[in-house]
Symmetry: C2
Subunit: 315 residues, 2 copies
């Protein structure tokens, strides 16, 4: 039997001594000049050229951050944008990160009903069951959307249980308009995101999902917006690890995300994306390393880890 995902994740966090994750969401027109000006990568209007540049950037990002952080989150949208070749590139990056012993989260936010959800789960979470793809691994975990209720996530949960994989259910997202849905008041006094949290807590404690550390392979995406809600959600989903987006570019800082953790320093994984992968656009890093973009990214990654260490200590 495969090791429980939560146990694997906690082990990876301990080994790097930081509960952090770098989010990869590459946009062509923000790529470093060194890459985007290469002869076969300098045409944004040619899908192959733009994709090649994008993948080169992502591979180098993965190599830069791998020594410092235990987890990388790859957002599928930025690769689907390049059609099927982009999708192939997405899976190549999953392999690249897995080969560097990182835990890989496929940020694909999928959900559907019945058989369709099963197909998404096989495509995005399972290791391939095809003979011609048998040296190939799926991501360790994926993000899923709760709108369909349990039907939509059950096939993902089944794979997570059997294959040592994980899911993070969207509970509270970091974007502003998320509130128009997720903060709607319920008749029972709970906001809608709290009702979703209650369901996630129920799903998370199902048989075979909770690892030896008491955490489930069913986690939750919780944007650190206001502390009160974060604390409430933390208490409502005691067995779920929180995947916390919004650090850095989206405005959340270390003290904002601190409430996502339990008092023992476990229970959350904090993601920074743009503030790290585009650090070479930031005057702070430009002044230190000028056009050496990889050094900027490395430093921003180390700063992110150090910043979070001020509020959370990994036991």
């Amino acid at each position: 039997l495969a090791d429980n995902f939560a146990d694997r994740l906690l082990k990876a966090i301990r080994s790097k001594q930081t509960p952090t994750c770098i989010g990869i969401d590459p946009v062509y027109n923000r790529l470093p000049a060194e890459i985007a000006e290469q002869r076969d990568m300098n045409d944004e209007m040619d899908a192959e050229s733009a994709l090649d540049a994008t993948l080169e950037f992502c591979r180098r990002i993965i190599r830069i951050v791998a020594p410092y952080v235990p987890v990388v989150k790859i957002n599928s949208a930025y690769f689907e944008r390049y059609y099927w070749e982009g999708v192939e590139g997405y899976y190549e990056l999953v392999q690249e990160a897995a080969e560097r012993d990182m835990i890989v989260i496929g940020d694909c936010k999928r959900a559907d009903i019945g058989h369709s959800a099963e197909m998404y789960a096989r495509a995005h979470l399972a290791d391939p069951d095809f003979s011609n793809l048998d040296d190939f691994v799926g991501p360790d975990a994926v993000t899923v959307n709760p709108y369909f209720g349990l039907d939509g996530v059950k096939p993902f949960i089944d794979i997570a249980r059997n294959d040592g994989k994980g899911i993070f259910v969207l509970v509270r997202t970091s974007n502003e308009s998320g509130a128009t849905i997720q903060d709607l008041a319920g008749a029972d006094g709970m906001r809608f995101c709290e009702a979703v949290a209650r369901l996630v807590a129920e799903w998370a404690r199902d048989e075979g999902l909770v690892g030896s550390a008491g955490y489930s392979c069913v986690g939750a995406v919780v944007g650190a917006k206001d502390r009160e809600t974060t604390m409430k959600l933390r208490a409502m989903m005691p067995q779920s690890i929180f995947l916390v987006p919004g650090y850095g570019a989206q405005g959340a800082g270390a003290t904002d995300v601190a409430q996502c953790f339990k008092s023992d320093g476990t229970g959350a994984l904090v993601t920074a994306s743009r503030s790290v992968i585009y650090a070479y656009e930031d005057t702070k890093y430009l002044e230190m390393y000028a056009s050496e973009w990889e050094k900027c990214v490395e430093q921003a990654c180390k700063d992110f880890v150090a910043d979070l260490a001020k509020v959370v200590t990994v036991a």
Copy 2:
């Protein structure tokens, strides 16, 4: 300026005289023997073989139903399951259906925030902006998930407005566990799906979205579960065309979906998937056509159209 999607859809419905759509969600082990037993298509464990069989089946389904129904809905999950080659096949089917003058709905149920949502919208709804893909069209419309609020759907709406495309926002899904989320009672007495419907109605009436027939390119997915709710949702979203799943295999019949239409016979598009595309498994059709699977599908498609014509008349 491109014609409004709702106007285009209504025109297509009028031209075929039926507000119906065939949903394509192919599973290898249900394919007709004639296809699955072909030498290079008979290995379910080989992604290429299984995909080739699946695509051959889908192409033939599209050709069979094209004379009878105005719209085809292709569920992305069943193609993503075959990784990047499956995704290429998905887009090929979009072209195939578009060439037969069908309206194509990409059933991809995507959503994300900000830039990520924009990438999904470009990948799944827009016609490609790449020079090497310029003879290639995106679907006419896609399904989107509302969980992120307006941020998650805005990029899709912008493309819909500018390019004559459409979206169908998930409001009430046909699966059972959808109720645990969508039927949650709100403090204002509205259920959650009604709160989403209110938002959709607001989004739908935005500038530049409503066509000459009074319908918006922002539609809604509304499963015909109970009539009361359907009528309520119909009244709440007067400018949205409903995409109604669940006909046939999922249990809804013509009288169940009738409330999705306005009294003038407009306002909804009813989808049948498994009951039509797998009609050759149904003894009713087997008795008529034995192993001639294409005739079974054709007859089931005609029966679906005739069945719906009993409760809705296209003006």
